[in-house]
Amino acid sequence: MAGEEVILLSVYASMFSMRVRIALAEKGVKYELKEEDLTNKSLLLLEMNSVHKKVPVLLHNGKPILESLIIVQYIDEVWHDKNPLEPSDPYERAQARFWADFIDKKVPCKISLQWAAKGEELEAAKKEFIEALKVLEGELGDKPYFGGEEFGYVDVALIPFYSWFHAYETCGNFKIGAQCPKFAAWAKRCMQRESVSKSLADPEKVYDFRALTGLQIFFIIYMFDFYCLNSLDFIRSQVRLLLNFVIRISSKQAVCY
């Protein structure tokens, strides 16, 4: 559409920003990408998302839309003539939204535990994470995508987490693909779509992003604030992460985080 101004405030490694980039790419929307530094948030971000001060933020003709799934739905509604993401049938749409909500509740929250925890806690976090993926595998069944024959809303909601798997696998010392082969096959299929392959962060870069200096630890604190339901536990886990990091650095061990 001529005369449309679309700007996305984003962070390269954020799964939530990736969702929006995929949706915009699916619709062929031309937009300006503004990469945010979460340790030094731009005035635009603070003004446009004064409540949460988080990315992603979509600016459409100057008006802000917030929260990744709300943004994806907005994109789907405005650019409705190309590659519909949400199903057209209300019941199917309700099912898709249920699964997107499940993903938001079950997939990211365990991340902070995995990074900071050791031993039993780490094992418990890994177990919960794999269990969530197995439930999702059950829902996927034999379909090529969660949306059925077509790539859709749930696929958009979930695939960005795939870019973080390499990092989790390395630090958690486990192979996600081996335990969830259907999931791995689905992810590879999604990666063949240009909108996905161009929007997902490079897993190696995500892993490096996690190999941090002390200052950037606080960057992560902002990052994962998104969906952590219990922020006090989260802050505790981040303090443990920092201490662990400092100990490893000082004992010259390989930095895992």
């Binding site: 409540v51 459409h60 008006k63 839309i65 917030l66 929260e67 709300i70 943004i71 739905q73 907005y74 509604e77 405005v78 209300p90 019941y91 749409r93 309700a94 099912q95 939204r97 249920f98 909500d101 499940f102 439930v135 339901l229």
Partner: protein
């Protein structure tokens, strides 16, 4: 439509704010429904069949097909019963805005739960969080929902998703305050939200949905004493 074509059953629990949302939405939209009270310590086989993933209420069963998660159910109702009172606006930007604030009111509830879960001595921080969310909510909805500055437009005919969400969270606010001996909603600090919820709980439709005060106080105190995690 004949009564056989649109059978709606709501599985719920009388004190659950999530269930209250759906109940109120069904009443606003004038959708006849059957209500099944679930005992959450002894869930019915039907509930487990209809919501095998989360095993929670509310579950809306429409012509035998289940829809789960309160906000998902609200949008489903709006889309299927698309004539008559609408919970969400049609215009995409406004929809996104309403969805954002509906989700924010849910986050307010989560902060209130954190307050409930905290020990009496550790009330201060969670209470501050609740007050901060109330402040943000007040500032956020003021412009687009209360352009005259007060809830004069609130009536049974034009209730929407934000009203539904607010009733589910703050409808029983006095009961919550009494059960936990805290001041959640201060008319001095949040005049708009205070007058908004007051206007809502006066409506007969809303009165049917909000649990009776003493019963609510009783159940909240009972749950807290038995170590329930809200």
């Amino acid at each position: 439509m004949g009564s056989g074509e649109n059978k709606v059953v709501l599985h719920g629990m009388w004190a659950s704010p999530y269930v209250k949302r759906v109940e109120l939405a069904l009443k606003i939209k004038g959708i006849p429904f059957e209500y099944v009270e679930e005992n959450l310590r002894n869930k019915s086989p039907q509930l487990l069949k209809y919501n095998p993933v989360q095993k929670k209420v509310p579950v809306l069963v429409h012509n035998g097909k289940p829809v789960c998660e309160s906000l998902v159910i609200l949008e489903y109702l709006d889309e299927v019963w698309s004539t008559g009172p609408q919970l969400l606006p049609k215009e995409p930007y406004q929809r996104a805005n309403f969805r954002f604030w509906a989700a924010y009111i849910q986050q307010l509830l989560e902060s209130i739960f954190k307050l409930f879960n905290a020990d009496k001595e550790a009330h201060e921080k969670p209470l501050q969080e609740v007050h901060e969310k109330l402040r943000n909510l007040e500032d956020g909805v003021k412009e687009f929902y209360f352009p005259e500055g007060s809830p004069n437009h609130i009536s049974a005919e034009n209730l929407g998703i934000l009203d539904v969400m607010l009733v589910s969270v703050l409808g029983p606010f006095r009961a919550k305050e009494e059960a936990f001996s805290v001041k959640i909603l201060d008319p001095g600090k949040n005049p708009l939200i205070f007058s908004w919820i007051q206007a809502l709980i006066e409506l007969p439709l809303v009165k049917e949905v909000v649990p009776p005060h003493d019963k609510m106080v009783g159940v909240l105190q009972f749950l807290k004493q038995s170590g329930f995690k809200f």
